[in-house]
Amino acid sequence: MRRTAPVSQWGSDFDVLDAKYVADPFLIWDQLRTTCPIAHTNRRGSTWLPTRYEDVTAIAHDIEHFSSLEVAVIPFEGEEPEEPVLPYGLPPISADPPLHTWTRRLLLPWFSHNRVESYEAMTRGLCSGLIDGFIADGRADAASDYAQQIPVRVIAHILGVSPDLSDTFTGWVRDVLEFADDHDRRVNAVQGLLEYFIEEVAKRRAEPGDDLLSELLRTEVDGAPIEDSLVLGAAALVLIAGVDTTWSAIGSSLWHLATHPADRKRMVEDPEVMSLAVEELLRAYSPVTMARIVTTDVEYAGCPMKAGDKILMNFPAANRDPEVFEDADEVILDRAHNRHVAFGSGIHRCAGSNLARMELRVALEEWLRRIPEFALAEGEEVTWAGGQVRGPRLLPVVF
């Protein structure tokens, strides 16, 4: 699937799609952190990979030198159309201020703490229904039968689109994020997704509802409605950013519990530990890496970064930096000091973090309530996706 030569020099020729990196990046980050600590590669363009907490957060805050106009970890290697449907990309994630500021304020109330509470009962019912579907079998794929099925349906609910199309949405999101080095898959997915949302926008215009899409169409900025391309971009962003990411966090957490019986037992016996445990699992298995583009030549930590170079915002590695986290490579469910940046840092902090946290907590609560004892199915393979979003894609468990 991945067309990439194996890596031998991680400091000067890294590749986040390398099979070794996808399967187990932790040792590679540890080695880079003590020797490099900002790796470089010329694969898919000149790209830097910081591994220390201090560097990743400093770059996230320096929006003057590091722009979000290009956030894809795997660059698009085709010709851009002359008149793109989304000239601003997917704001606010792919925008700098001032566009970032006001588009982000449009989305944030949909993911506020109070609003997210109102999605909890629906999420719990969804999780419970999924478990009903396989609990009698004594086995399930915790990634594809469970984790993968949850966030996409919650996002469909928020966007006001049909949950029956969940598999189609999931396919598009995976093609954009996980199979981004497959040009045709990526192009077709973006086209399918845009055509779908163009049609949905037309429907909402004729018959507005109380969903996010309708609300965006109703909103006026400086006395004028928002441009269609911005509504489309924001809708596509909510779908793309809210599916793979949270599903990966749920899957990784279930993988951890399947492979660490003492932690699983503790979470079953001591439900009080859940809120700290959710943060610790987010820290240890942070799914998301975003990119930034260098705006002007700048030397950072001795690295000669050139305008146009890409930086991979390695929040997952920052979260395992022993300078900041004691026993960083160990999962300590009740870790008290946990300044993790799984949702990023600075002005682009994940707008859906409240939602993701709620989904992860509810998914684990329902699973552990119904299936307190489970383990990996012996002799069956666990597979991982990497690149922009890391998490298990096949996770066969028995119970």
Binding site: R105, L108, P109, H113, E279, H337, V341, R349
Partner: protein, 63 residues
């Protein structure tokens, strides 16, 4: 003990609210502010320190 949230640093992670909802409020945009004038009752001082130690933006301080 008295605490404050620096509004220029807070990015809405809501970690403080999750750890000590008695001491913080979050608005629709995620921004945190202290409840009242930021005075912390003695029985909540440990949680206030936890909130300070978990903020990813170093936005909470004891004043």
């Amino acid at each position: 003990m008295k605490i404050r949230v620096d509004p220029d640093k807070c990015q809405g992670h809501a970690r403080c609210y999750g750890l000590a909802p008695e001491l913080f409020e979050v608005d629709d945009y995620g921004l945190s502010t202290v409840v009242g004038d930021g005075s912390v009752p003695p029985e909540l001082e440990d949680r206030a320190r936890l909130a300070i130690a978990n903020c990813p933006e170093f936005a909470i301080e004891e004043v």
